[in-house]
């Protein structure tokens, strides 16, 4: 893609002695849609605020177009922000909210020029005819649009979006995801997007940066992140994963549950202990006699498109997503194709994720409405 626009070099930030960002290195390309993804408190908002100029890194540099901008205040950066709760000016109407960035410019712009550009922006976010409305009369989705129009009015090179859809309901959120992507392509600028919603990240981004505990866990395209997770944390955070202890016997052969499976991964040391990821949708249910391994169904949940079933394999519980119904208590065999395995090196997250023993609790947590979870950092 295009040239590099922003680079973070070894950025570190502490609040009250607590490290919230630990040597972040990140390159962001021009016109890219990049998403910082992670749970609350992972440092994604802090990273965004450092790029926006609202925070200074304790050490490390922020480069914009190759120039160090650590000390450049927010109002002098070619970067604008869409804030989490919109932060609209309640004392101004829609038109004046959007025009704000133009009105503070010196030398003053012509009134006609301001009008033309505000109308352009209103058109971009499909809010024509709302000029005179007070922002408090608008719905959440409309306020969101005003916030976006206001942020792009100065034609920034980069737009920062801090969980912009967090306050919207699910249906509206989906629509806005699509629309945001369209807007990004239309104005042709870099979007840096912060969210804890993995689906949102996969849907919209060119590049996803998965963060946890103030560190970047993995950078890649949505496909890479999903198919080739770097460690147990990423595998668990993005989608659903069964993560099992295994031994890489040799290239393309992994041993778990005392038997060897064909896989596609190679490049590990002989007999290296590894984490084996198997996605719930990559598992086929077969009669016991044909199964590579055999387990007992302990829980079945109907999810609409599929059944989520929990299967106990020698004390380790797997999640399997299938369209076939198996009753609780049934013995079933499973078969996994070589491309259904993904092998990861052991990491600090090994053993923490990927067991579905406490399935329901974990699932609820993942699908829980994320509202109000925004207060992280500081």
């Amino acid at each position: 893609m295009a040239k590099e626009l922003i680079r973070l070099v070894g950025c570190r930030k502490e609040f009250d002695g607590e490290v919230v960002l630990d040597s972040i290195n990140l390159a962001i390309k021009d016109k890219e849609f990049l998403t910082l993804l992670g749970p609350s408190g992972c440092g994604k908002t802090t990273t965004l605020r450092i790029i926006g100029g609202f925070l200074r890194p304790d050490s490390g540099d922020v480069l914009f177009d190759g120039v160090k901008i650590n000390d450049v205040p927010p109002h002098k950066r070619k970067i604008n922000t869409v804030f989490q709760k919109y932060a609209l000016f309640t004392h101004l109407n829609v038109f004046e909210n959007i025009a704000f960035g133009l009105r503070v410019q010196r030398p003053k712009l012509q009134e006609q020029e301001i009008e033309r550009r505000v109308h352009e922006a209103l058109e971009l976010v499909a809010l024509k005819g709302y000029e005179k409305r007070s922002v408090s009369q608008l719905s959440g989705g409309q306020q969101q649009r005003v916030a976006i129009a206001r942020a792009v009015i100065n034609r920034p090179q980069v737009l920062l979006l801090d969980e912009p859809l967090g306050a919207l309901d699910l249906k509206l959120r989906k629509d806005m995801q699509r629309e945001l992507k369209q807007i990004q392509q239309q104005v042709g600028i870099t979007f840096i997007y912060v969210t804890h919603d993995q689906e949102e990240a996969l849907t919209m981004s060119d590049t996803v940066v998965v963060m946890n505990n103030g560190r970047i866990q993995q950078i890649g395209t949505p496909l890479d992140i999903y198919n080739e997770p770097e460690n147990a944390f990423v595998a668990d955070f993005i989608g659903e994963s069964n993560i099992i202890d295994g031994i890489m016997v040799s290239d393309q052969i992994v041993r778990m549950y005392g038997r060897e499976f064909q896989c596609l991964d190679k490049g590990f040391a002989p007999n290296e202990p590894v984490d084996v990821v198997v996605r719930p949708e990559d598992i086929d249910i077969v009669p016991v006699s044909q199964g590579q391994i055999v387990g007992t169904v302990t829980e079945v949940t109907f999810k609409g498109m599929q059944y989520d079933i929990i299967v106990d394999f020698q004390g380790f519980k797997w999640l399997i997503q299938t369209t076939d119904h198996s009753p609780v208590g049934a013995k079933i065999g499973v078969k996994i194709d070589p491309d259904g395995f993904h092998i990861m090196k052991k990491s600090e997250y090994s053993g923490l994720y990927g067991d579905y023993s406490s399935y329901s609790a974990e699932y609820d947590e993942l699908s829980a409405d994320p509202e109000g979870e925004g207060e992280e950092d500081e």
Partner: protein, 307 residues
């Protein structure tokens, strides 16, 4: 089943009625209080204002007020000046306080409230003893030789009479000082409480859009804090325009305000409750007009409170 439904429906309706009844009944003591001590007195004042000592209807009380126009003007003018000074002092203080961390804010707010724990009269008496011709301030100035210095500048001027003090008390300035001193907290508190409520992200948004700190103040903080200023104005202006203690103590009757005039009609030598009522009525009208004008500016959140 359906019987059950009807029953529970009826129960809910009855419950709702009781609920509403109970909630309303909480208001009755207050309504009674207001009726007895606010509405009835106002009616009495109106009756007095439109009747003569003999009990006949008359407009004479109002036409008789012509003589007191200067008092009206002076009252409004001094209260206006005091209010303006309160804004000039109070707004920056409120702004500065609201930028500190919450704990410091609480301490400072308490310090501002602290003088109010002392009786209003005592505080004003204290100012008397400060401002008197032989008061603390003049004695201090005398002790450091200020008057000697001034007198020495006029040495040789035969028509000059040496001064021994500045005339501080019994002036308009002293009355304004008393008003500002007593009512300043009522300006600071509402402004501060509005400013701290401004979403910090709104300020960041303005910075993000290219506004420097001065523009942020002018285009965001100031307009968003106006409702606090409006409440502050009402809470300073209304008591200032009707005060009589401050002017009585700090001017010894030389600066007569509306409050003094009314007090004289009811409790003073010029006993004439009919004229006093008419003046009160007009003052009330002026205050209501001022307040409704102000409230038009400060629409929304902080509705200005009377009294």
């Amino acid at each position: 089943m359906s019987k059950n439904k009807v029953f529970s429906g009826a129960l809910r309706a009855v419950g709702g009625f009781f609920d509403r009844f109970r909630k309303q009944s909480f208001a009755y003591p207050y309504v009674l209080w207001m009726a007895l001590f606010v509405v009835v007195p106002i009616i009495l004042i109106a009756v007095y204002a439109f009747t003569s000592a003999q009990g006949h209807f008359t407009l004479g009380n109002f036409s008789g007020m012509i003589d007191y126009v200067p008092v009206f003007v002076r009252s409004l003018w001094l209260a206006f000046l005091a209010t303006v000074i309160c804004i000039i002092i109070g707004y920056p203080v409120a702004l500065a306080i609201s930028r500190m961390n919450p704990r410091t804010q609480r301490v400072l707010i308490m310090l501002i409230m602290l003088p109010m724990w002392i009786n209003f009269l005592l505080r004003t008496y204290a100012w008397m003893s400060l401002l008197e011709n032989t008061g603390l301030i003049n004695r201090l100035l005398g002790a450091v030789g200020v008057f000697d210095l001034i007198n020495s500048l006029h040495a040789g001027d035969a028509a000059y009479t040496p001064i021994t003090h500045f005339q501080l008390i019994n002036t308009n300035g002293a009355v304004i000082l008393g008003m500002v001193y007593n009512y300043l907290p009522f300006m600071i508190l509402p402004i501060q409480s509005v400013i701290v409520k401004i979403d910090p992200f709104v300020i960041e948004a303005a910075e993000d859009l290219g506004a420097n700190s001065r523009t942020v103040f002018r285009k965001v903080i100031l307009p968003l804090s106006l409702s606090g200023v409006v409440s502050g104005i009402t809470m300073v202006f209304v008591p200032a325009v009707s005060t009589f203690v401050i002017s009585k103590l700090l001017s010894n009757g030389t600066v007569m305000l509306l409050g003094d005039l009314i007090e004289m009609q009811f409790a003073g030598a010029a006993y004439n409750p009919h004229l006093g009522s008419a003046i009160s009525l007009i003052m009330m009208v002026i205050v209501v007009i001022c307040m409704s004008l102000m409230n038009r500016f400060g629409e929304g959140e902080e509705q200005a409170v009377m009294m």
